[in-house]
């Protein structure tokens, strides 16, 4: 089905609400077995995109291909192969977690045993018979992931799967998603927990105001984006000097006497020499890989400036 190795392919995907474009000409490609992070600030169009990938929203323009098939023409064949958790998990409050899954098993034509196996998989085996309305947010989230796993999906689309999970739950969820990806399942993940995304995802895309501003491998991104940690007794003067350098992308203060300088492709000399020339004392300088959070902020801010 996915002859070109792409599980998700969108071309010029657009959705408008009145005059505002929620998603604007989005081109995405996600390969089989990848864990793909989909990032963006609130209102960037992440959920709208996910809803279009699941056929819950009709795009105004562009096309979606899932597993090599055009979604519009083959939704009946394609969508059963996708497991999804969109926004908050929504189940029947009067049913137990297990019965909610058993109801879904009937829709998908699965035996009841399938509900028990996915409950065990997400660590809800012991709480499966509790009423859904008594579940904590983290348990609801796990049930949402369990529902997405029903029916042997080839693609998992998860919107904020770590929402409400405690630190141990987050680690276990990460482990589960990695194992799923290793078994050949493609994971398309939207999350606000950027540290988690950097630990889990192979590639990330960042969108802002419905437009794609970056798609790159996480490893390459973290390596490329270098940040210098500058310790100085006169941070104000250092900031003034560094702000005048064309190759410095961003400057921010972390502590009273510590200035962070983002300058891709520049050696330490490129930072120290202008400071020394301007008689600004330097106590120390070291190089640090940028976190995904820093890259995300820079990318979004740059996109804001250019727009």
């Amino acid at each position: 089905m996915d002859g070109n190795g792409l599980v998700i392919e969108t071309k010029g995907l657009t959705k408008r609400y009145g005059s505002r474009a929620a998603v604007d000409g989005l081109d995405l490609e996600v390969a089989r077995g990848e864990i793909f992070g989909f990032l963006g600030p609130n209102g960037a169009g992440k959920t709208t995109t996910i809803r279009m990938l699941l056929g819950l929203l009709e795009p105004d323009a562009g096309e979606v291909r899932i597993l090599g098939r055009q979604l519009r023409r083959a939704r009946g064949e394609v969508l059963p192969l996708i497991g999804a958790l969109v926004e908050m998990p929504a189940f029947h409050p009067y049913l137990s977690g297990r019965d909610n899954l058993r109801a879904l098993c009937r829709v998908l034509g699965l035996e009841d045993g399938a509900a028990d196996s996915v409950l065990d998989l997400v660590g809800l085996g012991a709480d499966g018979r509790r009423r859904y309305s008594t579940y904590s947010l983290g348990m609801k989230q796990r049930l949402g992931v369990a529902a997405a796993l029903l029916g042997d999906p080839r693609l998992l689309i998860l919107d904020e799967p770590a929402n409400g999970l405690d630190p141990i739950g987050i680690i276990e969820m990460r482990d589960l998603l990695r194992r799923l990806a290793r078994s050949g399942i493609t994971v398309f993940l939207s999350s606000h927990i950027l540290g988690e995304v950097s630990l889990l995802c192979d590639r990330v895309a960042i969108i802002r105001e419905g437009r794609l501003v970056l798609v790159e491998r996480v490893d390459d991104l973290l390596r490329r984006e270098t940040v210098f940690v500058l310790d100085t007794p006169d941070p104000e003067a250092a900031e003034r000097v560094l702000a005048g350098l064309s190759y410095v992308k961003r400057i921010w203060r972390e502590e009273d006497r510590r200035v962070m300088v983002e300058a891709p492709g520049v050696s330490g000399n490129g930072i120290v020499r202008p400071l020394v020339q301007a008689s600004v004392a330097v106590d120390g300088l070291r190089r640090r890989e940028a976190s995904l959070e820093e890259i995300f902020l820079t990318t979004v801010q740059e996109a804001e400036v250019s727009s």
Partner: protein, 316 residues
């Protein structure tokens, strides 16, 4: 999450049964019936309806003990097959009225809560067509209505069998014959047709209002309002002597959702139905005419609500 299963065994594709339109509908119907079965509201509403059938039975006992001539042969609840049939069907007329509220509440809850909670997204995201989802829910609600009418009939029959123990001279259950059974089944058919219309009404209101409250509240207000209007409007037409007004009243309240039911019960009861049940009797409307009007109401409501449901983006 310390109990998490470390072995990765997902339900395999081999467990998925054959797909296809009919298969998909049957699977959705099974899912909806499963949810109805496990829903406390289902059993609460069945309990309320059966309680009112019991209430009708107690009222019947009170009426008979105050008018003992009613159980004489040839009278309404006389010691003959027709009397026994009337004992059973009269309990059902009140059950039907309460059942209207039960069914409209269930329709509003089933359609509206899924609409507002977003739980439908889970199903729609798996490629199931919206109209299939709705069709399965209508079918599940009709099964619920059928179960309710069967349970009410069984209860009414059981209570009728006990009546001679309580009231001397009441018709014994042994008088039940073929024509009585046909008549009771006809009454049940009328109740079902009426409830199918009420299901369509509650569902349509829940979909239009996007909420269970609108479906339940609007449906109940319509049912009560129909009774009140059915009494007030004819009186107004009598007072005003306006021909157009009278025709409007005929149009609204003669061939309405109750019309087929009126024709499906014994004439002796139908004659007093306005008093018993709020149904406006009109001998000018034939049974087939009433059935056609009822079906047109139901199909119209279903088409409007299905079209709205299919067009809308759920959970947006």
């Amino acid at each position: 999450m310390s109990t998490v299963n470390s072995s990765l065994v997902l339900p395999q594709a081999g467990q998925v049964r054959a797909r296809g339109w009919a298969g998909s509908f049957v699977r959705l119907l099974r899912s909806d019936l499963f949810k109805l079965w496990h829903r406390p509201l289902t059993w609460a509403l069945i309990g309320v309806t059966l309680f009112f059938v019991l209430g009708a039975y107690l009222t019947l006992i009170y009426t008979i003990t105050n008018h003992m001539s009613a159980v004489l042969p040839g009278h309404l609840f006389g010691d003959d097959p027709a009397g026994l049939r009337n004992v059973i069907v009269q309990q059902l007329t009140l059950g039907r009225r309460v059942g209207q509220g039960t069914v409209v509440a269930m329709a509003g809850a089933v359609i509206g809560i899924e609409f507002s909670s977003g739980s439908l997204r889970v199903v729609l995201g798996r490629g199931v067509r919206r109209w299939q989802v709705l069709l399965a829910k209508y079918a599940a609600l009709c099964v619920f209505a059928l179960v309710l009418v069967v349970m009410a009939t069984l209860e009414a029959t059981l209570l009728a069998a006990l009546l001679p123990v309580v009231v001397h001279g009441a018709p014994p259950i042994t008088l039940l014959n073929g024509s009585s059974v046909v008549s009771i089944v006809g009454s049940d058919a009328g109740i079902l047709e009426n409830w199918a219309g009420v299901i369509a009404l509650g569902s349509a209101l829940a979909i239009i209002g996007r909420s269970a409250a609108v479906g339940i509240g609007g449906g109940l207000i319509y049912l009560v309002g129909e009774d009140l209007a059915g009494r007030v409007l004819p009186a107004m037409s009598f007072e005003t002597h306006i021909g157009l007004w009278a025709r409007l009243v005929d149009f609204l309240f003669t061939p309405n959702l109750n019309a087929f039911f009126y024709h499906s019960i014994p004439f002796a009861l139908a004659r007093e139905l306005d008093f018993l049940d709020g149904v406006m009797p009109n001998p000018m409307v034939t049974a087939p005419h009433a059935l056609v009007v009822g079906v047109v109401w139901i199909v119209g409501l279903l088409l409007i609500s299905t079209a709205l449901f299919a067009r809308r983006s759920w959970g947006s």
